[in-house]
């Protein structure tokens, strides 16, 4: 596959992520902050998001497993996860966190467990999609091409 085709494929792939609501405009903001002096900015930020999220998801799961569920602590973790997903533009993860927080407030353990599954699902989905996106970018660069800035009208 030649560079032009790879670039089209990447553009289509990226657009689909926005269409499906997996990513929102904040992700574009991250891309705009990347330049020659900060060429890996997006990957670095997203890596922090992956690390933070995995730790938080583990902490939440552990907290829900306790005899006495500490909803305040869980809410604090979910709040953090909501914050970081919002900062990278992982819209569906963020929305799942918002729903989760409501059940934390109600101290509903069963619904909270369901929410955790939902958040995990959305997280693994966006993780998978972003890893694919980065791979497509790497392939273009390896082939000597440049990664075009996506133009999207909202």
């Amino acid at each position: 596959m030649e560079v032009g085709q790879m670039q089209s494929r990447l553009a289509d792939y990226t657009k689909s992520l926005f269409m499906e609501g997996i990513l929102d405009a904040q992700f574009l903001q991250l891309q705009q902050l990347q330049d020659e002096s900060n060429p890996d900015f997006v990957v670095e930020v997203v890596s922090l998001f992956f690390d933070d999220s995995e730790k938080l998801l583990n902490d939440i799961a552990r907290a829900l497993d306790q005899q006495c569920v500490d909803f305040k602590k869980i809410d604090a973790h979910v709040h953090q996860l909501k914050g970081s997903s919002s900062s990278v533009g992982a819209q569906r993860v963020k929305n799942a966190c918002v729903a989760f927080r409501n059940f934390c407030e109600e101290q509903n353990a069963e619904e909270s467990r369901r929410c955790l599954q939902q958040v995990k699902q959305e997280y693994y989905l966006v993780k998978n999609k972003l890893e694919t996106l980065f791979t497509l970018e790497q392939q273009i660069v390896a082939a000597g091409g440049s990664v075009p800035m996506i133009e999207l009208s909202f």
Binding site: L33, E44, L48, K82, G83, S84, S86, S87
Partner: protein
């Protein structure tokens, strides 16, 4: 870009999230600010020399020069609201209570849009309240506050900088907050 070489503002960013710290640092550096990022209110106060200041209050003033606490020159502090231990609001109050720091403009960031929280911060003296995720358009709003701070120190180039700053960036509409905006 690249107007007055010597006028590089120093911004202290405070956020317990390493992701958000990285983001705010990049946003600020894009505007050519010199940035120091710390992960807590207490570290911020330490950096600003406040803790040292409080210790020195017990000692006779003649022993120390007037600006012994001014190890660092910070032109603006931007802090997250929700932090463990000392919140951004607590930090704001401590800064406003400090003789040496009260004139440094403080901006609060929060992922939660809670009008009472926003009001409380503005009443306590915060210059701006940004909803997260912070945008470049928000960072552009910092410049007037930084210039105001410089004017207080009667910077010689203040008029020159102001004249060059006449281009305004379009305001990002945050319908919830705009009604509370302090002119």
């Amino acid at each position: 870009m690249g107007m007055v070489a010597e006028a590089q503002f120093h911004v202290l960013a405070v956020d317990d999230s390493n992701l958000d710290r990285k983001l705010i640092e990049r946003l600020l550096k894009t505007s050519s600010y010199h940035v120091t990022a710390v992960d807590s209110g207490s570290k911020a106060l330490e950096f600003l020399g406040v803790l040292k200041d409080e210790q020195n209050q017990a000692n006779p003033p003649s022993v120390f020069p007037n600006d012994h606490h001014q190890d660092v020159d910070v032109n603006l502090i931007i802090t997250d609201y929700c932090m463990p231990g000392m919140t951004g609001y607590d930090l704001l109050r401590k800064i406003k209570e400090s003789k040496s720091l009260k004139d440094i403009p403080v901006v609060i960031m929060s992922s939660d849009n809670i009008p009472s929280r926003i009001n409380r911060c503005l009443e306590e003296g915060a210059e701006e309240f940004f909803l997260k995720p912070v945008q470049l358009s928000d960072v552009n709003k910092l410049r007037p506050h930084l210039l105001k701070g410089m004017a207080k120190e009667s910077h010689p180039n203040i008029d020159k900088i102001k004249a060059m700053e006449e281009t305004h960036s379009p305001d990002r509409t945050r319908t919830n907050y705009n009604g509370l905006e302090v002119a």
